[in-house]
């Protein structure tokens, strides 16, 4: 597993993907946080990082499928998948190796934004008067959301040997899981159905966490969605054996 992980990471670094992803993520979130007049923290007047956690998921929605799109589709297209799957490692180890490589990149993109939090600490009046709990919860939520997107992207990539298809499919599935459930519930549906639909989407759990409350239900939700997509990926890859 570590061998696969290492190769993916070095491939990120040598192909510039890592740098581009990190720079774009920081650029977009930075602009919304500090520069754009209507959204910027400085105009807003409240010492909160909400802007980052509203924009973050949407940026990830585009960036993560772009990171993950080549994971399996490239291997399928070039045939290296046959070599990889005849090495003495299990399919699950390969999938997890790639998953953690994608997740590591997400972590490295998020890490520098801790500077925003530190800045906020000093900007607040009195200094340090910020919602630390909420911010920590939001960060954990953002990372888990990133992990879910990585697993979705991994699945999309396993479905096809075409990277563009994998990207678009991944983007759509990320969007669907993030916000479509919220929109569907706006239809005139019974309240119980609405509640269930809301709980199926990512955003409800993400916002629950951003309040600073680490509810086990939310953690279980993120964990199960990741497990679901990893299992689906495994099933798709094993379809060669049918």
């Amino acid at each position: 597993m570590f061998t696969v992980f290492k190769r993916e990471i070095s491939s990120f670094l040598s192909s510039l993907i890592a740098y581009i992803v990190i720079v774009v993520f920081l650029l977009v979130t930075g602009l919304f946080m500090w520069v754009f007049p209507d959204y910027s923290l400085l105009d807003f007047g409240y010492a909160s990082l909400d802007q980052l956690f509203i924009i973050g998921p949407w940026v990830f929605m585009f960036l993560i499928p772009a990171i993950t799109m080549r994971f399996f589709s490239e291997e399928k297209r070039t045939g290296t998948i046959e070599l990889l799957f005849t090495k003495p490692v299990t399919d699950t180890q390969i999938i997890l190796g790639k998953f953690f490589a994608g997740f590591a990149l997400v972590v490295f993109a998020v890490l520098p934004t801790l500077l925003y939090a530190v800045t906020l600490w000093f900007l607040a009046d009195p200094v340090g008067n910020i919602d630390t709990g909420g911010i920590i919860g939001s960060y954990i939520g953002l990372l888990l959301l990133g992990a879910v997107f990585v697993s979705i992207g991994l699945f999309a990539s396993a479905l096809t040997d075409n990277q563009i298809v994998a990207f678009i499919l991944g983007l759509f599935l990320c969007f669907f899981f993030y916000s479509a459930f919220d929109s569907i519930k706006l239809f005139n549906l019974p309240v119980k159905v609405q509640l269930v639909l809301e709980q199926l989407g990512i955003s409800a759990h993400f916002y629950a966490m951003s309040k600073g409350v680490l509810d086990s239900r939310d953690l279980v939700y993120f964990g199960s969605v990741i497990a679901l997509f990893v299992a689906l990926t495994k099933t798709v890859l094993e379809s060669r054996k049918w």
Binding site: F2, R7, S11, L83, K87, P88
Partner: protein, 303 residues
Amino acid sequence: MSVQVKQLTKIYGTQKAVDGISFDIPEGAIVGLLGPNGAGKSTTMKILTGFIPQTSGMATVHGLDVEKNSLEIRRLTGYLPESNPLYLDMYVQEYLHYAAGFYEVNDPAKRVKQMLEMTGLGVEQHKKIGQLSKGYRQRVGLAQAMLHDPKVLILDEPTSGLDPNQLVDIRALIKEIGKSKTIILSTHIMQEVEAMCERVLIINKGKLVANDAVAQLQRKVAGGITVQVEFSDAVQQRELRSLSGIQEVRNEQGNQWLVTGDAKTDVRKTLFDYAVRSGKTVLSMSQHENSLEEIFRELTQKP
């Protein structure tokens, strides 16, 4: 036995890619898997390496079942898939280190160096694989397959698309490696089998049509020697046929004939004596090798 295959069958949808193949390969042999395109060579290899499972039958490598002990078998075998897929964005050395990471290799750095030397990649080791010529990529593929000193090497068309010089190099390399390992290689080039292999398995439409030592196969199909002869005057086919010890007579063109005798007869002498007796002149006579190429065509073109 290093590799044992019993009644192996693989069905894709409704198509039988491999149809009840059985063979044994002793340890240390170099075996050529021969067949026209789409005969089932690659499928057989994919089953042996554990990439896809068989539909029925069984295959063992070093006594291990390919389905139940897939991971152990993968540790014992090196595999070069068809068309030699590689990560083109990696450096040669980096790639070999990566490949070594999958196995328990003592001192990977030393082993990689050894492989680079053995495959003659030393000069190219700091290049990206994408920059290499096809011959050198093939060497990278081979180096990758042999890194962990496998007991069995499975090479799917290891020499396809190489120029004649590279061909000779790679063949020599494979032969060198074959001294200490069991090698199964597939090809549809006959000379390759003649040059490298001790045994040959010929597959046609998923069925095994020959399983012999190379020399034996040549004798088996050919019978005796065949001679190409040209007479000065017209000759009747039945006249030639009636000579003692002649098995087959074929007209090539005009007065040129292909004459095959049985194993005991020297056809050249018979033909010469015949010519003298009937007052004709032999313009040319040459021994016609029954090459593997012809054997292959004969075996694989039967309806």
